[in-house]
């Protein structure tokens, strides 16, 4: 009779399914398809899709590309540590290094411009968490992720590291300016 005994009807697979159960299965199925369609719809019409552009790269090579970018575009330095503030050319490429335990350098962007931001890690996994916008992207060593971003509002933004990366994880804070 019950769920802890063998089915009382030995040919249980021939029993008809009740209308209500069919209806619920139908709802669940259609809803699944809607959710499936929604992701594709957003890829076509939505304005927030994570970039597919990624390359395998060594930390040394990425650091060299980032240093070149920083040398060419630094406009000033900030804080006691003289962290360079780098103006990313509108429509151009910017590099952001994640390492123990800092985001380097500070990027300066313009509202409404689109940038290709290259993300990679020098050591462990890190988490790019742009606050207070709340965009979160995994940063993995050995992979260069090219994310196209268009800031929609002026301000000073923080990059929190939200992938655990060791004892200094909690002070790994970076900055992005949007002018």
């Amino acid at each position: 009779m019950s769920a802890i005994l063998p089915p009382s009807d030995r040919l249980w697979w021939k029993q008809p399914i009740d209308k209500v159960e069919w209806a619920w299965i139908g709802i669940a199925f259609v809803w699944g398809m809607i959710m499936f369609g929604m992701m594709i719809y957003w890829h076509i019409y939505g304005k927030q899709n994570l970039s597919n552009e990624a390359y395998k790269i060594t930390p040394e090579l990425f650091a060299a590309k980032a240093e070149k970018f920083i040398d060419e575009n630094t406009i000033r330095t900030e804080t006691d540590q003289h962290i360079p503030v780098v103006r990313v050319p509108p429509g151009g490429d910017g590099y952001l290094i994640a390492r123990l335990w800092a985001w380097y350098p500070i990027l300066e962007l313009e509202e409404g411009q689109t940038y290709k931001i290259h993300l990679s890690s020098m050591d462990y996994n890190h988490g790019f968490s742009l606050q207070p916008v709340n965009i979160n992207i995994q940063v993995i060593p050995g992979y260069e992720h090219v994310v196209k971003m268009t800031p929609t509002k002026k301000g000073t933004y923080a990059i929190v590291c939200n992938e655990y990366c060791g004892i200094g994880h909690s002070w790994m804070l970076g900055r992005i300016y949007v002018k």
Binding site: I17, W24, Q48, L50, L130, N134
Partner: protein, 564 residues
């Protein structure tokens, strides 16, 4: 091997001697790990509570690693071994296959668990539950987990073997009971899970020994989640089986349709493992097509399966209650359910929390684009505390209130406290999950020691609401720890001091499950169909909440920076 069979006078269930001892030892070991996990939970909560911030950073990350391992792997796996032996040997009324191998598996799991804990508490292996490379733990950290996995695999094989024994000894006729079928799906998923785990942890162990130079960080994440997520699917299949078990024992409830429930379990096997892709949605190394395919087409079939169980479990209870005469209105069956029985109240809170909180948040979190709003935020642990804790742990806790008299032959002590425990634990854990998800929605990071970022070159001030949510996380976290501690106290107290109960008749031979009479078969042929309007209303409520919350998050997403 000579063995004996005891027929429990309370439940009528039959316990084979070896299986009974295995279940007891596994359950007790699970409870002890829960105790360690609970102490670490309290320390984690008191550190993340901004007003208290108990531990220094290094100890916090150590304790958080221990909490993940002891709860997600050890407590749950040991208890699941007991569930597997119960669903095979007890429900099929047969001897357990190769008890010596089952004991070997048990001791491997014990030794492995201890080794990994030693590694963690030595302080050089604070790499979190996920142990993402290239961050490296001590070799024995990985070795311990591998031993646990091998032990669990042996236990799973004993379960399969026991099904064969039952078939060969003809202790039942026809098909497996639904609960055993559900446990079988859990065991099949477990086999896949453990093999994925071996596929990544053995190379990682070699790497920590210096025998392998490098492991690709992205590849690690992909294969590791074949272990990390699939193991949660074992939990889902196991706790759904426990829901059906509870409904059957308390209400003599039978599934609305064997076909539908079994089909839903099958969907778990076919599609759930692929859903582990949703941990990689914000990763660089996979294409959007891969992400969409794995999280939607595949995962939504698994979601469908959970939605089906979410309907058929309360539906089965409603139908059984209506047959008993609770037919007034739409909800008399539910109002007059045994809310004072912790076996029922715990199971029902588990069902509702898993569906409304865990299920909905999980699907939203697993949507490719929306994931960017929540990836690695406090939303993630908020979500899985409503699935694996409110869902799985609470279901296991509630069925233990049944197992104490039946399996351990002890009367429960302090019955009034037993009555309130599921409410205290279930409700506080549900609220805890909600406020954690609230903090995550505001951006607060998971696995993070310091919301004030002291030592950072810049300042960032979280919104006041985020601090409020973290304060509430602290308060409800502490209440939940008290609720969990109360359960351990009640269960361990009952095992030690509860009145001893009569074990029942002992025999040398198993008594097979009696075959169905012709009359019973005739009744089963649809003539006793009962409509379940209350369950329909509950299901529609779930559906409406689901749709609203899903689209609210698309709205949030549309407001952030443009990304392509």
């Amino acid at each position: 091997m000579a063995t004996t069979y005891r027929t429990c006078p309370i439940s009528g269930m039959q316990f084979e001697d070896q299986a009974e001892k295995l279940m007891r030892w596994n359950a007790v070991a699970g409870v002890l790990w829960l105790l360690v996990g609970g102490v670490t939970a309290l320390l984690v909560i008191l550190t993340r509570w901004p007003a208290i911030k108990l531990l220094p950073a290094d100890q916090f990350y150590l304790i958080l690693t221990a909490h993940g391992i002891d709860m997600l792997i050890l407590w749950i796996l040991f208890f699941e071994m007991a569930v597997l032996y119960f669903a095979s040997s007890v429900l099929l009324r047969c001897r357990i296959a190769t008890p010596k191998i089952a004991w070997l598996g048990f001791w491997l799991m014990v030794v492995g668990g201890i080794i990994t804990n030693v590694a963690v508490f030595q302080g050089e292996s604070s790499v979190m539950f996920t142990s993402y490379v290239p961050m490296q733990a001590q070799p024995h950290f990985y070795l311990g987990i591998i031993l646990v996995a091998v032990g669990a695999l042996l236990g799973t094989c004993v379960f399969f073997g026991t099904l064969v024994v039952a078939k060969k000894d003809k202790t039942y006729q026809g098909s497996l009971p639904l609960v055993t079928f559900g446990a079988l799906t859990a065991a099949i998923i477990a086999t896949f899970t453990i093999l994925s785990g071996a596929g990544i942890l053995i190379p990682t162990f070699f790497w920590s020994m210096g025998w392998i130079k490098e492991i690709d960080a992205q590849l690690y994440r992909m294969v590791w989640w074949g272990l990390g997520h699939s193991s949660q699917q074992i939990n889902v299949a196991a706790h759904v089986s426990v829901w059906y078990l509870t409904a059957a024992v308390l209400f003599n409830a039978k599934p609305l349709s064997e076909k539908v429930s079994r089909f839903a379990f099958l969907l778990y096997i076919l599609f759930l493992q692929l859903a582990s892709a949703h941990h990689l949605l914000s990763d660089p190394g996979m294409s959007a097509e891969w992400k969409v395919l794995n999280t939607s087409y595949f995962m939504y079939f698994a979601v469908m399966a959970s939605m089906i169980h979410g309907f058929t479990v309360p539906g089965a209870i409603e139908a059984a209650q209506r047959r008993r005469g609770f037919t007034n209105g739409i909800f008399e069956w539910l109002r007059k359910a045994p809310w004072g029985n912790p076996v029922f109240s715990g199971m029902f809170i588990s069902l509702v929390s898993f569906g409304f909180l865990g299920g909905i948040s999980g699907v939203v979190l697993g949507t490719e684009q929306i994931n960017m709003l929540m990836h690695n935020t406090f939303y993630v642990p908020g979500h899985f505390h409503t699935t694996v804790v409110s869902g799985t742990t609470l279901a296991f806790m509630s069925i233990t209130f049944l197992l104490v008299p039946v399996l351990f032959r002890r009367e429960l002590i302090l019955p009034k406290l037993c009555q309130i425990q599921p409410y205290l634990y279930g409700i506080s854990m549900g609220i805890l999950g909600l406020v954690m998800m609230g903090a995550g929605t505001l951006g607060v990071s998971r696995r993070h020691w310091d919301m004030a970022f002291s030592g950072a070159p810049f300042q960032y001030e979280w919104p006041g609401a985020a601090y409020l949510m973290m304060g509430l996380t602290g308060i409800f976290g502490v209440i939940a720890v008290i609720g969990g501690g109360l359960w351990i106290l009640l269960i361990v107290g009952s095992l030690l001091f509860g009145k001893k109960l009569d074990g029942g008749k002992v025999s040398d031979k198993p008594t097979p499950i009696p075959a169905n009479t012709q009359a019973a078969s005739a009744v089963a042929h649809g003539s006793d169909h009962v409509p379940v309007p209350g369950t329909v209303i509950l299901a529609l409520l779930l559906f409406v909440s689901f749709v609203l919350y899903y689209f609210v998050n698309w709205k949030y997403l549309s407001e952030v920076w443009l990304l392509s």
